[in-house]
Symmetry: C2
Subunit: 502 residues, 2 copies
Amino acid sequence: MAVKRVAAAFFPPIALDARAKAPLYRQVYDWFRQAILDGRLRPGQRVPSTRNLAADLEISRIPVASAYEQLQAEGYFETFVGAGTCVARSIPDEISKPTTGPAAQRAPSARSSRQEDDRDGAPRRISRRAVAMHTEPQSWLDNMGAFRVSLPALDHFPVEIWSKLVNRHSRRQSRTAMAYGTAMGYLPFREAVAEYLATVRAVRCDASQILVTTGSQQALQLSAQVLLNSGDRVWIEEPGYHGARHALMTAGARLVPVPVDREGLNVAEGIRRARAARAVYITPSHQYPLGVTMSATRRMLLLQWAARRGAWILEDDYDSEYRFGGRPIASLQGLDTGARVIYAGTFNKVVFPSLRLGYVVVPRDLINAFSTARDATDVFSSTLYQAVMTDFILEGHFARHIRRMRMLYAERRGALVTAIKKILPGIMEVVGAEAGMHLATLLPRGVNDVAVAKKAARLGVSAQPLSSCYAKMPQRGGLILGYGGTDAGQIEEGLRKLRLCI
Amino acid sequence: MAVKRVAAAFFPPIALDARAKAPLYRQVYDWFRQAILDGRLRPGQRVPSTRNLAADLEISRIPVASAYEQLQAEGYFETFVGAGTCVARSIPDEISKPTTGPAAQRAPSARSSRQEDDRDGAPRRISRRAVAMHTEPQSWLDNMGAFRVSLPALDHFPVEIWSKLVNRHSRRQSRTAMAYGTAMGYLPFREAVAEYLATVRAVRCDASQILVTTGSQQALQLSAQVLLNSGDRVWIEEPGYHGARHALMTAGARLVPVPVDREGLNVAEGIRRARAARAVYITPSHQYPLGVTMSATRRMLLLQWAARRGAWILEDDYDSEYRFGGRPIASLQGLDTGARVIYAGTFNKVVFPSLRLGYVVVPRDLINAFSTARDATDVFSSTLYQAVMTDFILEGHFARHIRRMRMLYAERRGALVTAIKKILPGIMEVVGAEAGMHLATLLPRGVNDVAVAKKAARLGVSAQPLSSCYAKMPQRGGLILGYGGTDAGQIEEGLRKLRLCI
């Protein structure tokens, strides 16, 4: 191979800075690399020997040699025995041209935070599902003020007990606890969850069916991945939980809103709208956001439909821990003899949101498919909190905490209902069952609930507009008021601020 | 509405057990619920009054009343003023028939762990992507014995320092740290990551572009979600990283294997096979599994192709921390002036696998789309370890740990290469650069590497077959030997066991 080179030996104008953070070799390396990328050095161009360059720069030869070695390892330089070193001739000419063309104009520093332009200002192409999931900013989530939905009473959490358990597991961290866990989760935790669900929620399962997730969102997202093809139709509750819509959309599902009435999701209407749907997403114990409990009749109709059509039921057992009137309602999963129900739940709202622990109870024949999907998505859940939560449950702290919170939330709900009657009489109407950590309210016809929520957010109040839970604009708007993390003092003040906004 | 009922008042044969774990009200409730589900009680059938049933059962009226209240709340019973209580007439007949039909045969207790039958023994319908991702059991992952890939030297991790930091953050856990975090991650952590990547990996970014993930797997999965439509073609390295294939498949991508040679991925061959591909997945610093470093020429050709076609480059900067010969190689992202590179990395292999912390560096115009995708997938990463890792980096423990591990792994690699020459001369051939935590080896033609790996797993050795990284069966098999978590003693013993298996 004949080595063809452009004329040799210039001395590059490298300005070294002995006091710079970057070591000398790095400064030399950076200069050459940038010069090649900028097109100041051309492919095939000869560079000085390390000895000559070191002499010219008045530094030791070692940093220069290190830089050359690196440049060669990365393919910027090539060396021929007896012929010295030159810029690699295989570097594409176009890239090494001076960057004054469009590429330079699109350089990171010139970019705005808007979608990048490919040409003519059009946004760059991303996936259809990502475009479909685009949402307006939800300013009511910007603060943790009064009425923030799903926020528990964090100041009542037994932080000391928890941190003792954390410390216990962190200090004696075993090799196993530090290494890779399994996609299904930490076995002792799965056993504790299975027992809890069987006892408290009448879920029929054993530990082998429990897949530990980071919360109900991931449980739904994995279910969608495993069960739905792009374009499959899925019934969702109207109104319903926003997060579930997005989880289903990650699998490309087409959503079919089915109205919720006083008995829960209207199954007959669902059949009328999309008999052949592949799945339904449902919150039967405590419908989000209206708080309805699904009737036994509707439950059975739903199971019947699913069995006949081979459809899947994604049961989100939302807020089932907190029921103030009567006993907790048994799960739909426990009624199902055809293993059509995938049951999802979370500890994030009962313990604290940054815990990131939930679960999905998977029919036996789907365990492998779910486990593979979890592995493909994010491999497995961090072990530490799984171990801590196991102890928290087995040592009785969890049951005690739920009992105390149930009393506290019943009180807060009572205070909120009373205060609404006092401060917003005839303006705000309470709907829904006596359960959970939030209540839904209706506003008078014609009041724009999104506008109210935006104004309220500016006053530090975090009320969610009811219309944000609808696929189609409802006849009446409303506000969803979380009271879990909102104490008596905040309640009255928050309602007064809301009155200003309505 | 005329109330039509079947004849009244039988006394149900409820067998109460005063010593049972379930309270009396629950036993009464369970009996009725099961009787309705089994069809022993028919819709419209009258049930005794609470007073009469309590007298018959010789218990107080309170548990009976509680049970009735619950059954009514759940819609199993209905009550008419003056007409007593009966089984809800709206309960579907079919469900309430005795369960001797196919539904009963499919009851959970009768199920095997195989895929559930819909009819005629066929597996039940799940998504095409879930079917496509089905994998054979990888028995070499069943143990944490010698040569387990990606396992670091856990016994050299500074557990005491780490647990002190954990304790610090757990004890003084603020309300903010317990509440919902943001989809992008904990800001101080993102700032530390941005600085680390800019300094050590020549990544051009600021903290606003860092999305905290649970590892590189999630980084890839989110990238696929945001960037790819179902059916889009994506170049992957052949051989390549198994986990990346699955991450791309979650978005329904069609994978186009492109061969890797001594300069890394063959860009010209990629263009020949699928010029219009939407994206490429690549490990340029240290190719997995072969250990090649992508040459500067190929890097520029790749950037050129991506800029021309509007394609995305998913750069997985795998094991970039550990390079024993020469300096670390600069990232591809840092060369990119068109913001076409999405850069993914992880702390899970440098710190410990159950940490579950990684990151993806997102072009500015895609930040919203990535943030929405993370929110839809699993909302956000647990806060505790993000805070702990921030301190671990800022207080210098991280850099110190990497330095120590780099020396240790260089030593272990040396010992492994020496031992291979001694124990398996002419049988096992080492390939790849001096970097990372594993090395790839080739076996003689005709040796089935999967069979070897399976046999080895039974002896407690965790060698991964090289052919498992190929889409098409390669001409020569081999073994990937992790040495990160394998000490000198295990190396020789492990190789001797492998010799038995070959």
